[in-house]
Structure formats: structure tokens, C-alpha cells
Symmetry: C2
DNA sequence: GTACCACGGTTCGTTGAATGAACTAAGGTG
DNA sequence: CACCTTAGTTCATTCAACGAACCGTGGTAC
């Protein structure tokens, strides 16, 4: 489709990336997946996205190799969406963008990120000075920051108001 | 406006950031500004974006404090758009996203980034190991990578096929 | 066994935004 | 005086987002 998602003629890896994760809602779906959201209904509850759009985005992310759809229960049959390694690598740009928003668009931080093995707070490039490593997503813990207001009360929002290891499924 | 740009109810700095730079074309405009593109006509030539959309995006970016519109010539009156400090801070997420695209969606790198003061190649978080600093945008030089094919031949594309310091205006 | 519910979607009419071509306006240049 | 450049605006058409309603599969309660 030449309209809506493609940036034809842009020979640039940023444009390529945006063709995959640049559509409305897509990066928020990825963020939720990083927080451990896996089920259609949970994405829906947390995002207030039209169902048709969510279906389309999930399929597109699976197609692109960022999410994997897999059956986690047979009776009744239920599927879940989990990040692939390629999807987990989006951690860095997502964090950088969120931190930019935090520094420039909000008063105080909504969420803080920590290197789970050592408890050190992470900066915008996820580099843990204490350990001297770039923290992979699996080793990151989120905790609510001072700026987080409890506006929403869907399952997912409530679960994420407690400290939580990234990728751990929502209860 | 509840439609199209807002992510109402998402109490999250990523959503806030996406409200500002998440619309179609917006991040490509910012990328071009980082490369040194400043004039309406140059953005237009490089991006193949409809004129009305470009006008809207440029105004929105000025409104958001990411670009500054300023007169660089009086007869005839001409304006240019340059990144503000807040806009320059988008460098990190833009780089991280582009590098993700490069690693996961393309064969070989389109463009390589170097720490201009010392000539060291930069990684996805713009950390210069030789100098031990996070390189600011002003100190970065782009050079074409092996994967860059000379498909486009507009003014801007041609100019960017030579090594070029970030933010330096297109000739 | 039958009514009801949870989950994960699809369908569809309405609204808003992107597209691209044409037009405008200010001000030089030959 | 005709024409060119730059930076837009206007407008009809096309496409995608929205949100409400509907659908299908397979439990669970009575």
C-alpha cells in the first residue's frame, strides 16, 4: 500500500523503522508488551483503542516479526502476543523517546526504571553505571514515579502501579 | 482534538512524546532538520510530502517548541526552520530508532555516524568510547554507508551523499 | 440442556485526515 | 512587462480511525 504507511523513496533506516512502528497506536502496543501485557483484552482495556485498529496493529506487528502470536491455553483456545528478540530490541528507542517526553513535556517522572540485578536507576540509554552494562529489557524493573497519577483503573493500569519486572505477564 | 493526535487517558511520557512527534512525516521532518535542512522547499524536495501536510507539521513543530521559525533574509523575506535545544535532544531516540531499523530491516548501513572531534564511529546510543562522552548532535558527522543507493537526486539527497556535519545547513 | 458469560475478534456507517493538483501572493530578474 | 522563485493555501478525492453493534467458540451456573 503506497498510502498511509509507506514512505516510498526514503532510502533511510529511520523511514524503514517508521513504516513498521510509526503508525498510530503501534508503539504504545509495543510499550504495553514490554510491560508484560499479552492478551487482546488487556491491550484493549489499557489503550482505549478501537478493536479493529488493535487487531490490525497486532497482526502487522506479528507480520513484521516484532510480536509472536502463540497459544497459551487449549480449552478454550486462547492466544497471547509476546515480543520477539527483534521486538525486545525496540527497548532502547522506546526508552529514549519516553525519557525525552519526560524531560520536556511532563512535570515529574511517571515511571522510573531500574537495573533489576543491582537496583540501580537507569538513564535514558539504559546504561547501568554500577554494572557497566547496557541493561537488556529482561533485567529492568519499573516502579511508579512521583508524577504518576492514578487516573485509569483498568486491570493493566492497576497492575502497573506496583513495581514490576519488564516482560513479566500482567496477573 | 480527540481524534488523530491525542492519546487521551494515557498517563505516560511515551504517549506524550508521540502526541508531539508521532504523526506521519513528523519524525522525518525532524531527521531532515538534524541533517541541516532548513527551508520549506528543501523539506518538500527531500520528503515527497504533500505541501499542506508539510505546512501543518512545521507549524506544529514550532508550536511544540521543537523547531524555531526565523527570518534569514529580508529582501525578499525568507524564513527558515531550525531545531531548538529541545529538538536537538530528539537526537538520541531518532538515532536509536534508525539503528534498530538498520540492524533489523535493511541489509547494510545507509549512513554511518562519527564523533566529529575525534573521528570515532558512534553506536546506537551515541556514546563515544574514545572520548568517554555522549556525543551531542553538533559533534556528529554523517558519512554515507555501504548500503546507501543513490536513488533520489533532489538537492538535499545529493548534498547528503557527501560527509556532512549534523545541523550544518544544506548548501 | 439451556441460558448466560468471557474472550477474541469482524462488520459497518460516520468522521476526520492525507493526498496531489491547482491556485495565490510577494517579491525579484532579464 | 513577462517570467521565475519561494512559501504557502484551497479544494475535491481517497483512505484510515472511530465506536457501536454483531458474531463465534467454548466454558460455567442452574
Amino acid at each position: 500500500m503506497a498510502l498511509g504507511k509507506n514512505y516510498d523513496g526514503q532510502d533511510c533506516s529511520l523511514a524503514k523503522a517508521l513504516e513498521v512502528i510509526g503508525e498510530r497506536w503501534t508503539l504504545l502496543v509495543v510499550r504495553d508488551a514490554m510491560y508484560g501485557v499479552r492478551r487482546y483484552g488487556d491491550f484493549l482495556a489499557h489503550l482505549d483503542v478501537p478493536r479493529a485498529v488493535l487487531s490490525q496493529r497486532l497482526s502487522a506487528l506479528v507480520e513484521a516479526g516484532i510480536l509472536e502470536k502463540r497459544r497459551y491455553q487449549d480449552a478454550p483456545p486462547r492466544e497471547e502476543y509476546v515480543l520477539t528478540p527483534m521486538g525486545r530490541e525496540l527497548w532502547l528507542p522506546v526508552l529514549a523517546l519516553a525519557q525525552w517526553g519526560e524531560r520536556n513535556l511532563t512535570r515529574s517522572p511517571r515511571r522510573l526504571f531500574f537495573h533489576q540485578p543491582c537496583g540501580t536507576r537507569l538513564d535514558q540509554v539504559a546504561f547501568c553505571a554500577a554494572c557497566g552494562v547496557q541493561a537488556p529489557l529482561e533485567d529492568v524493573e519499573v516502579r511508579p514515579g512521583p508524577g504518576l497519577e492514578g487516573a485509569r483503573d483498568d486491570r493493566v493500569s492497576v497492575a502497573l502501579r506496583a513495581p514490576h519486572r519488564m516482560l513479566d505477564p500482567i496477573p
